[in-house]
Symmetry: C2
Subunit: 360 residues, 2 copies
């Protein structure tokens, strides 16, 4: 991301201040700080005024912040808060917005005790997230690159699968290949499950060794320059039994129907309902125990949530996953997931990896 | 960890309720939930009463929680909070402790609005962390296994180093080797920095390729069954110049002095001061921009903080790192780090990897 993107983003943020009746906004969520400054470290806070922004970090990040951040930088030894306070007092802030989803109760209390009584603290949510939900062409390019790296790593890993290989070995192989192909790291802990363990939607790879006749679930994502991708594919060692194929086909039908429903103006919950309806017809909706998808970008889960209750209207530039799944204890689970971007007329599925139940 | 450890831990937690004037404690920190139940998933909350504990999660973790958690389990579709509320009301809780460092302001407000006005919400900090700070023999065994895996992976990775290799390639190699040796994953994003980039204390591995005459900093940790290790070592491609050797020797002296200062009854800040004093004598203390170390266990950073202000008295069973470092912009940085456990009479350094500046 070019450095001059960041002042523009901060300007867009400040344009929302009037609506929320705030003079300044205190940003404590790390991905939000990154979005507004380009800072990639673990300890940074940002105070945004309409005319200026102040960035705070600790001495470990002196060099890095000088390279990445183009606003006022304060390096604080010890807690950052006293230095933030000094700016608030100097600028005589009357109404300070803060991210109530990203400030713990303890820190809120410390802040309330420290700032002038004349300063009102206003709980604000989703201000930066609202900007982040629509990706710029540059951001979509990074997500696309992440998706391509991810799919290439998947193909390499599939070739490396051997009978007797453990789930953890395959997970390690996948993440190693990703990085060899240009990812910084995995966007989340790779999920690999064999056999009945596929019925655990968020299985942690373990010592289970691959046997003939087993189902394989792989849920993986690469991170490139901070941006994520997310894909789930299923394999079967040998010919898949009929019951499994039927389950697979139902999930695939739900996935394709949900993808087909994605277009500007449709709500996230409508897309979710589309997947659910297909699975209801197949008698499998009770086994579909999570949402149909989620937004992704600087975080692997970010708005919108493609679930029962999210009324967000989809708009061009939103990046989401579509990933219905069904899980039958003692038998196995099926999930199929792509990363896609809402376009002007529908959507573009970025994930190019074929979606058939691959028999190996 | 054997399943019967968890009720004992919850019992020890409940023994602190009187002191904090609470009837029940609401646990929202994921590592604290894991410590008290064994649950390894990403979405779990726990309500602890002296006579009973209630665990809450979502349908994705139905099977996993049944396998891992031995107390009352509630599977909630949608937010967990309404189900927590139902138990609070049923049990007529008067004083509920909550983890104010692990509950965001938004959720606090929702909780306050939802529970009976007769229920007092008490901000409590460090209740579970106080138990976690002293590791049991079983936990020390897991940390030891993690340290050994980490050191073995380091040796394999050092052998794989080649001129022209990029920082990200070496980081990928390290994490791949770790997992091959039995780690679940890296305990944190592996730091690999070459040349002047070693002056960034928290460098993110990048495309910099290794050249003759360069310094190499590797900061790595393995995770085994949830427990972490942490080690930093320095290599030099070819013979290290004199200035670098002097810097290295000063940091090593500081590290050894700090390790020698670790024993029961000494405060964390005294250990920190010991390292700082050695570096002051060498005229390098201004370049030492972080704490001397930190506790580790289920989290890579947990109490105590071996820094300027932590007055914690060290006690047998505490697991900490000792990692002084100096960073000179435009030149390079040196850090040397071991994982150790406080013993009855001093400490045991778990990390066995030699601490000389290795020339390769």
């Amino acid at each position: 991301m070019h450095r001059n993107h960041f002042p523009i983003r901060r300007q867009k943020l400040a344009e929302q201040f009037g609506e929320h009746k705030i003079d300044a906004f205190f940003v404590t969520s790390a991905p939000n700080v990154r979005y507004l400054t380009g800072f990639t470290g673990s300890n940074g806070q940002l105070l945004v005024f309409p005319d200026e922004a102040y960035f705070f970090t600790d001495p470990r990040y002196r060099l890095q912040s000088a390279q990445q951040v183009n606003c006022k930088i304060t390096i604080a030894t010890g807690p950052l808060w006293p230095r933030v306070l000094a700016v608030l007092n100097k600028r005589k802030v009357r109404q300070l917005g803060f991210e109530s989803h990203h400030l713990n109760f303890w820190n809120y209390q410390s802040m309330r005790a420290a700032v002038s009584l004349k300063t009102e603290l206003r709980s604000v949510t989703g201000l930066v997230e609202r900007l982040r939900i629509t990706k710029s062409p540059e951001e979509i390019q990074l997500i696309r690159a992440s998706v391509e790296t991810n799919s290439a790593a998947f193909e390499q890993a599939v070739k490396a699968i051997r009978l007797g290989m453990r789930e953890i070995d395959l997970a390690a192989e996948i993440e190693y290949r990703m990085r060899g192909l240009g990812a910084q790291k995995a966007a989340f802990d790779t999920i690999v499950a064999f056999g009945e363990r596929t019925a655990l939607p968020h299985a942690q790879p373990g010592p289970t060794a691959l046997k003939r006749g087993q189902l394989v679930l792989i849920d993986m994502g690469a991170m490139r320059e901070g941006y994520s991708s997310d894909m789930t594919r299923m394999l079967h060692v040998g010919r898949a039994p009929r019951k499994l194929r039927e389950m697979y086909d139902a999930v695939l039908e739900a996935q394709l129907a949900a993808v087909a429903a994605v277009r500007p103006g449709v709500t996230a919950t409508q897309v979710d309902q589309t997947a659910r309806k297909v699975l209801r017809t197949a008698g499998l909706d009770k086994l579909f125990v999570h949402s149909t998808g989620h937004g992704l970008g600087l975080e692997i889960h970010e708005p919108p949530r493609v679930g029962r209750k999210d009324m967000t209207r989809l708009a061009p530039g939103m990046a989401i996953t579509i990933e219905p799944g069904v899980y039958l204890s003692g038998f196995g689970g099926i999930r199929i997931e792509d990363t896609l971007v809402v376009s002007e007329t529908g959507c573009e599925v970025l994930t190019q990896t074929p979606k058939l139940l691959r028999e190996i």
